[in-house]
């Protein structure tokens, strides 16, 4: 069967139809993702090339591949630094694409996945390229909203570091396909860059405090505010504290309000939220498996 796309490099390359197709495909795979197995990718080999560590993304791809009956080889950071001294990414990709059926690449340089796709004999999936793209994260975020919320009525607050968060930037591009209403809640220094504001047009409102709009929204997407972004530690603690999601805050929200986070979290969400029905972040992490199953089967032509 023909694949809808050969590589998955950026969320922008997907049409709304492609996204919806992946989401419904992931839904079909969910039962297998829950501790079962299939053999649709039996005899296929996935190469995980992680030039920087990302345990969650790597394990999630590995789980997805194995639950579909495929095998995985990993090239980890330590191996890369010892065997590939001075070798270009282009050469590494040319070699590895001779071994495997699909490559997942995680690399610190922006545009690295795009370059890899140009030199690869086999499909390349971007598992995160520096501050650039992380399309499988975006698809699993959308899947979470699709499953647990209402994709046709997204009223979402993006909270925290909106300036540097790659996850937020990719999600914004995807949300623009779904006519979402977006509220931006961030400290002054971590506001959304103007180029993303432009893309959103009129469907976006910047607000000072989450409490002001908590009754208007049905999704809260929280990102980590990193210490390194602040000149001093006191300022960091003051700012981070004021963007923390608490159980009390959620009492004023809609009953079906969901709280998402790409994880790992530090202090952004109080642990007391975990036990509420609003907490969706662990389920969101699990959804990475069926979504990546859908993507792997698609690029290998078993969609």
């Amino acid at each position: 069967m023909m694949s809808r796309f050969r590589h998955l490099i950026s969320i922008e390359e997907l049409s709304k139809g492609d996204v919806e197709y992946i989401l419904s495909k992931a839904d079909e795979f969910e039962d297998i993702a829950k501790k079962s197995f299939s053999d649709i990718l039996k005899g296929k080999l996935l190469g995980n090339l992680f030039f920087e560590p990302s345990t969650r993304t790597r394990m999630s791809f590995e789980t997805a591949m194995k639950r579909l009956g495929g095998e995985v080889i990993n090239l980890n950071t330590a191996e890369i630094s010892s065997i590939a001294k001075g070798e270009t990414l282009a050469d590494t990709i040319r070699v590895v694409s001779g071994y495997v059926d699909t490559i997942v690449i995680r690399h610190p340089k922006e545009g690295s996945a795009k370059l890899a796709a140009e030199f690869s004999e086999v499909p390349v999936i971007n598992g995160g390229d520096g501050a650039g793209q992380h399309p499988t994260q975006t698809l699993l975020d959308l899947y979470t909203i699709w499953k647990e919320g209402d994709i046709n009525d997204i009223r979402i607050a993006l909270v925290g570091d909106l300036k540097y968060s790659r996850t937020v930037h990719s999600l914004i591009k995807a949300l623009s396909l779904f006519n979402a209403e977006i509220y931006l809640v961030s400290p002054e220094a971590l506001r959304l860059p103007i180029q993303f504001r432009e893309e959103l047009g009129n469907n976006v409102v910047e607000v000072d405090s989450l409490e002001d709009i908590i009754g208007e929204i049905n999704v809260i997407y929280v990102t980590r505010i990193q210490k390194e972004r602040f000149p001093d530690l006191d300022e960091y603690h003051r700012v981070a504290g004021s963007y923390r999601i608490t159980r009390k805050m959620l009492e004023n929200g809609e009953e079906n309000l969901i709280v998402m986070h790409p994880l790992p979290r530090v202090d952004e969400i109080s642990p007391e939220v975990d036990a509420t029905a609003h907490a969706m972040y662990f389920k969101q992490a699990f959804y990475g498996v069926p979504v990546r199953m859908a993507i792997l089967s698609e690029v290998m032509g078993y969609g």
Binding site: S10, K114, E118
Partner: protein, 160 residues
């Protein structure tokens, strides 16, 4: 002032006219004109122009520069006109047009972009709404494009 006093008419070659004032040096850089160039090249800066007020002008003798190469000059000015001269006559005249892709001329301003490493690829931009967007990292150059024009030796090293 008669601009003929500044630069003589050429017999054969390429005249690049209506360059925005002060940008002639960037035109030379785009065309790869440097100390290795053997043709006669003359240029004038801040010349009065009836069309755009003040302009720069570049004349390259005995060389007909290809249209594709000349179109790269549109990066620094959309009003630049080209005159191809043969035996003192203008045999072809056209306005430069920004190509849909710009390869190897401009460096990506994003220091974290994969194209700024030793990978065997050229700098590559697609033109979107008149602005350059890096093919690799997606970085958009919205102003001061000339700041990112690469030196000829860098260009040669990158394009393999």
């Amino acid at each position: 002032m008669d601009k003929g006093l500044l630069i003589q008419k050429i017999k054969d070659g390429t005249v690049i006219d209506h360059i925005p004032p002060g940008k002639a040096l960037f035109v030379l850089k785009i065309l790869g004109i440097d100390e290795n160039t053997r043709e006669i090249v003359s240029f004038a800066m801040n010349v009065p122009s009836s069309k755009i007020g003040i302009k720069d002008i570049v004349k390259v003798e005995n060389r007909v520069i290809g249209e594709e190469e000349l179109n790269k000059i549109a990066l620094i000015g959309r009003d630049v006109t080209i005159n191809i001269v043969q035996n003192y006559d203008v045999v072809k005249k056209f306005k430069v047009k920004l190509p849909s892709e710009v390869i190897g001329v401009v460096k990506c301003p994003n220091p974290s972009c994969i194209s700024n490493t030793s990978e065997p690829v050229s700098y590559r931009f697609v033109v979107v709404d008149g602005r350059l967007k890096c093919h690799y990292c997606g970085k958009i150059i919205s102003k001061d494009v000339e700041k990112w024009i690469v030196k000829e030796d860098v260009k040669r090293e990158k394009i393999k």
